[in-house]
Subunit: 344 residues, 2 copies
């Protein structure tokens, strides 16, 4: 493969000159400049980013570590991240931690060994090892989706965070259902311990309170944040003596799981039971039940994460912040409303 030295030789100049015309880093006579460009073209020279990075100590790459790349929510985030990264001249390295703390540590280290300048990660439920690694190696990072507790006392918090506002939207779902007359509204919540789970449960309880409904722990089940768990949990809910008349699912994977359970029990939505969910589906308008949902600004979350990361790279000393992006309520018919209309 042609190197810069080859180009220099072929153009009859020094490597320094080649480097400078390629990077526009110092004035070069039009004539010599053209000679270099011709040589580049003729040899099919392609700069070696590795060598450059070795000396500049900048790779212009960022790492993305999110689990379940199959999840449409993360897919949209990925799009936002990819687009924003490219726009800023950064390349994207991706790795899937598979929601396993140990594997998470591994892939993060892999990314770091490749010297990504920073990483965007959706932390696993047990992010201890992750945090330790990032802090120890001073890897700039921004967390996505799930927030990680308050910073340790032994120094300033190292991490920025972006996520969607989820408490209030869930409250809205509850009050909407209550407004339709439902008095037993079940919740299929996510993995205990995740910040998203906690927030959504809070939103649920606030909604119940606002509607003058009692909190009944028997109809709050944990679906482990994914489809299989939600199917199981929903199944249990449905076998209850006095089953709920409405259901809220706390993320898209669990919505799928809940629907499976509903189908298995021969229940139709919204005829037999109303359903509202957190996370929208792109095609939700086209199939029935047409899901009434809270839609997260997934692409924006991804794009925002990139911007926050680049901000931090530009100024490592800036104070950490956690940004919350607003969701929108997408009213359809799975809640039992006959027609589309604005939320009450």
């Amino acid at each position: 493969m042609a190197t810069m030295a080859d180009v220099a030789r072929s153009a009859g100049v020094s490597v320094a000159t080649v480097s400078h015309v390629l990077n526009g880093t110092r004035p070069v006579l039009p004539h010599t400049r053209q000679a270099v460009l011709d040589a580049v073209e003729q040899l099919g020279y392609t700069p070696n980013t590795l060598a450059r990075s070795l000396v500049t100590a900048r790779t212009r790459s960022i790492g993305l570590a999110v689990s379940a790349i199959s999840n449409p929510y993360f897919t949209e985030i990925l799009q936002g991240v990819e687009a924003a990264a490219l726009e800023h001249g950064y390349s994207l390295l991706i790795a899937d931690p598979h929601d396993d703390p140990a594997h998470e540590r591994t892939v993060v280290q892999l990314l770091h060994e490749r010297r990504v300048e920073g990483m965007i990660v959706a932390p696993s439920p047990e992010p201890g090892g992750l945090l330790a690694y990032l802090r120890r190696h001073r890897v700039p990072a921004v967390f996505l989706d799930r927030l990680v507790g308050p910073p340790a006392d032994d120094g300033p918090p190292l991490f920025d965070q972006v996520c969607a506002e989820s408490t209030e939207p869930i409250t809205g779902l509850v009050t909407h259902l209550a407004g339709l007359g439902h008095r037993r509204i079940g919740l299929v919540a996510g993995l205990p311990g995740l910040s998203t789970t906690t927030e959504r449960i809070t939103g649920y309880r606030l909604g119940l309170a606002a509607s003058g409904l009692p909190f009944d722990e028997r109809i709050l089940v944990h679906g482990d944040s994914e489809a299989a768990g939600a199917e199981r949990a929903t199944g249990e809910l449905l076998r209850l003596g006095s089953r709920p008349t409405a259901l809220i699912t706390a993320n898209n994977a669990m919505t799928i799981g809940a629907l499976r359970a509903l189908q298995a029990h021969g229940l139709s939505v919204p005829g037999d039971i109303a359903l509202c969910c957190f996370d929208d589906f792109a095609w939700a308008d086209l199939f029935s039940p047409r899901l009434t949902a809270v839609s997260q600004p997934s692409r924006d979350i991804g794009a925002r994460a990139v911007r926050m990361l680049l901000d931090r790279l530009a100024d490592p000393g800036r104070p950490t912040r956690t940004e919350r992006l607003p969701c929108s309520f997408v009213h359809r018919t799975s809640c039992g409303c006959p027609e589309e209309r604005n939320p009450s």
Copy 2:
């Protein structure tokens, strides 16, 4: 950041020894070995892959360039690729060509400058620039999904390819619908020129022929391979004097578009019109219409692509091959069949 020299100094050995214990590349006395390991641990040393790659001329990374990462089909491919890459110790760089030939060239060059050892790409409809670049720079590559014509005469073909078998499955869809009594079966085909489009049209015509039905070019429309185009094309189809009684869509994005058009026209599936599609949806069992579909082995396609690429890296001289993976027919109810049963 700690370097190997730091570790060597701290452990009281030479950098060569450090390198060797880290890579297990030559025997080292247990005692010195431990000293090195301790130093590594104490300094929080992390190898710099860039420097290593510069000397070994191996990056152990591959690039993935596919458009529309949002498309569930590509998402599953991505999963397959990510898993297979990791399994073989490779990292993954991704870039979205946005189905634009110029941009495709750009991202491919970006990937190459980062010295990925090879790349997996779903070529754009106009892959001329892509091919030229890959050949000129001798970048090992395997193509996905869309096949690229026969190799030029000026040398052996450079590229391996993987895709799903799509002719025969589409034929199956046609004969299935014909078997249900349909005599006007429309096709929403993809972008003209893509191998996938050509193959699927061939399958369509074969199916018509096998069913003793005439080919009517008015009910074969081009949906440009994506949702918006399909919506428009399907709309035109529906405004036809004698509209088809059944529809086949040639990929998942176009299925969405077609459904939108159907909805806009107030047509229900399968009541007013039957629908079969190429590409399945993971959640298709849970919503209605429950789509009768041809399912591609997407994950396998991704994994297979990685394996082919690694095979080629291992033996650059091996003959090029193009692999076709079989699809499966997933019978549901959008075709108009009352109950699930095996295809006729």
